[in-house]
């Protein structure tokens, strides 16, 4: 079974993507990433310290098997995000970008209007864009139209560990999308991650649930297995959930007697 998938021109073996915030130390983050076997890791530009070479985050991430995904967390508007994207491209030497525009600092709700504007501009500048957005099927198609490399709809509010509250919309997005769908935000447990994979998302991004667990390395390992299991189940083609037991004598059996 070939479990690989592609975003832009890069092939990924692991479908578990990771965030780098909230860890108790750089070492703890590194060990969790190793255990997750993740190949795509997002890091906030605002946390990157370019001057001193003692950056606790980047020093652990500069490895050939890891695709760095700088994010624009902190940007409130499209123009701030575009400027941040250009700085991130320079600082982290990659044109991959997790586009995050959340003017609301409390719940970090993405601004769909500014995100679409920024995505259009950044695509023209050659960025490989993965936008963090609401689970809005129309927005996903609009982003696809302007050249996004993937879409990252949220499962529930970021950091909430509430699971896939948006599941009905996620299913529509997965059904319609021509770019990879990565469920980002809200995934609180390995069973949430497995569910996300079972419904056919291409990957998930997990941060809070791993970073704030008592044992991040073990949690990362658990998520890895869950993502693999969920994907395998999706590929196996699970039978649909049955709400009622099947009647043993079919209601339409009389038709054969006519």
């Amino acid at each position: 079974m070939n479990n690989n998938f592609k975003i832009a021109d890069r092939t990924f073996t692991s479908r578990l993507f990771m965030g780098t915030g909230k860890f108790g130390s750089g070492e703890e983050m590194k060990n969790a990433i190793i255990a997750s076997e993740s190949e795509l890791v997002t890091v906030a530009l605002k946390r990157i310290d370019q001057e001193t070479n003692t950056d606790e985050i980047l020093v652990h991430l500069r490895q050939p098997h890891i695709q760095l995904l700088p994010n624009t967390s902190g940007a409130r508007t499209a123009s701030e995000a575009v400027l941040a994207a250009e700085l991130a491209r320079e600082a982290m030497e990659t044109n991959w970008l997790k586009l995050e525009i959340h003017p609301d600092p409390r719940y970090l709700m993405p601004d769909p209007i500014e995100t679409l504007i920024a995505c259009e501009q950044l695509a023209k500048k050659g960025f490989i864009i993965l936008p963090y957005i609401h689970a809005d099927p129309v927005l996903c198609k609009r982003l696809e139209d302007v050249g996004t490399a993937a879409v990252m709809p949220l499962g529930s509010p970021i950091g909430s560990n509430s699971g896939l509250k948006t599941i009905d919309f996620l299913k529509i997005i997965i059904e319609q999308s021509q770019v990879p769908v990565i469920i980002d935000a809200g995934i609180g447990s390995p069973s949430d991650a497995a569910k996300a994979m079972e419904i056919g998302s291409d990957a998930v991004l997990v941060n809070t649930a791993i970073a704030t667990s008592t044992n991040p390395t073990k949690a990362a390992h658990a998520f890895k297995i869950a993502v693999q299991a969920g994907r395998m189940a999706y590929e196996a083609g699970l039978p649909a959930e049955q709400l009622a037991a099947k009647a043993s004598s079919p209601l339409t059996a009389f038709l054969t007697d006519i």
Partner: protein
């Protein structure tokens, strides 16, 4: 124009005090059983009746903080620009009636101090000044920011209340946050503590966070001077203020600080004593009520308290602070605004943070996020 004043005037000090005193343990249990707490629940959590629940509150505060902010503690240091002041404040070492040598740092001195702060590792600096509008006003602050913007990615200010246009200019010049404390919301006695100077105008100060909010500033820090008046009542008003601001200027982040009155040259003693357990209760109450609030703890607090608070709800700490202009290198002997309590060097603070399994965060801002003109 819409401001907090209208909401504030709907309350009076004594009724709030009575309301806090009437809270029962049953009320506390009910508040703590809720998933989302409102401002009425905040009253419950700061009451005396909530005292026996401190362990439960601390556990919840820790959990919420880790979920929202992770195991991270942001570090910053104050840089005092000037101790010139035309206000009389009965609790402050810089009060105009104190006969101390006055000093305002020159451009060259600001750079020297900034480099010293940066050398300790800090990338977030808090610029502080007394109120001397003619010599230390917005043009001076803009110039100060220009001197240090290449040294610090994150610059906050704690200076006299200014106009919206001043805040707009400061924000465009890459100031990220404005801290302004009401000191006390007890309007009737406010004037006794601030008998002279522009600061004696209670309402102008009360509406300052509104003016900051209108400027599009990224963060506003509030607080009350704990020890002036009944901390429970003052903290209710402070929370009410934050609640209003969060709904009105919803793109702005909010932080709260807990300046407990400290001894200073020529100043009176606190009217109200606040125990360590009270301050912990207050911090946990803020956190449980408002999971997104940044909570800062300065070197006013003593070592043991600070070390233990790292994992109980706070999100940022200052370290190795000097509260006198030139205190780091230019003129270390000059008089301080207040005596700090935790005098340990930065390396020790960093070790204490790490020992609790937390990560010290030096940089969490990119100045380009404040470079844009805010759309009105």
């Amino acid at each position: 124009m819409k401001s907090f004043k209208a909401i504030f005037e709907g309350y009076d000090w004594d009724s709030v005090k009575t309301q806090i005193a009437a809270v029962t343990q049953h009320d506390v249990e009910r508040a703590l059983s809720k998933e989302k707490l409102d401002i009425k629940d905040f009253i419950t959590l700061i009451s005396k009746a909530a005292k026996p629940f401190i362990e439960k509150m601390a556990k919840r505060s820790q959990r919420i903080t880790q979920q929202r902010f992770g195991k991270n503690i942001q570090l910053y240091a104050p840089l005092y620009l000037s101790n010139e002041c035309q206000n009389i404040c009965t609790y402050c070492g810089f009060s105009m009636d104190n006969e101390i040598p006055r000093r305002t740092l020159s451009k060259a001195e600001i750079i020297l101090e900034a480099q010293a702060v940066r050398k300790m590792g800090f990338q977030h600096v808090l610029l502080v000044a007394g109120e001397a509008n003619k010599t230390v006003g917005t043009p001076y602050f803009l110039e100060a920011v220009r001197q240090i913007e290449s040294i610090f990615p994150q610059i906050s200010i704690e200076v006299q209340p200014l106009e919206t246009e001043d805040y707009r200019q400061l924000h465009q010049s890459k100031v990220n946050a404005v801290l302004v404390y009401q000191e006390t919301y007890h309007k009737e006695v406010y004037k006794n503590y601030h008998p002279k100077g522009k600061k004696s105008n209670f309402n102008y100060r009360l509406e300052t966070p509104d003016r900051v909010g209108r400027s599009g500033m990224h963060k506003i820090g509030l607080g009350v001077l704990l020890g002036l008046e009944d901390w429970r009542v003052d903290s209710f008003f402070n929370a009410l203020h934050i609640d209003y601001l969060q709904k009105t200027y919803w793109k702005t982040k909010y932080s709260v600080s807990f300046p407990r009155l400290r001894p200073a040259e020529g100043v009176q003693k606190p009217n109200f004593h606040m125990e360590d357990a009270d301050l912990l209760q207050l911090i946990c109450a803020y956190r449980i009520w408002n999971p997104d609030l940044e909570i800062s703890l300065s070197t006013r607090e003593h070592e043991l308290f600070r070390d233990n608070l790292i994992h109980l709800g706070i999100t940022s700490m200052s370290a190795a602070s000097k509260t006198n202009p030139g205190g780091y290198v230019v003129e270390p002997q000059s008089l301080e605004q207040f005596e700090i309590s935790d005098e340990r060097p930065v390396s020790i603070i960093v070790d204490k943070i790490r020992a609790q399994g937390y990560q010290p965060v030096w940089k969490d801002w990119h100045p380009e996020y404040t470079s844009e003109k805010e759309k009105d």
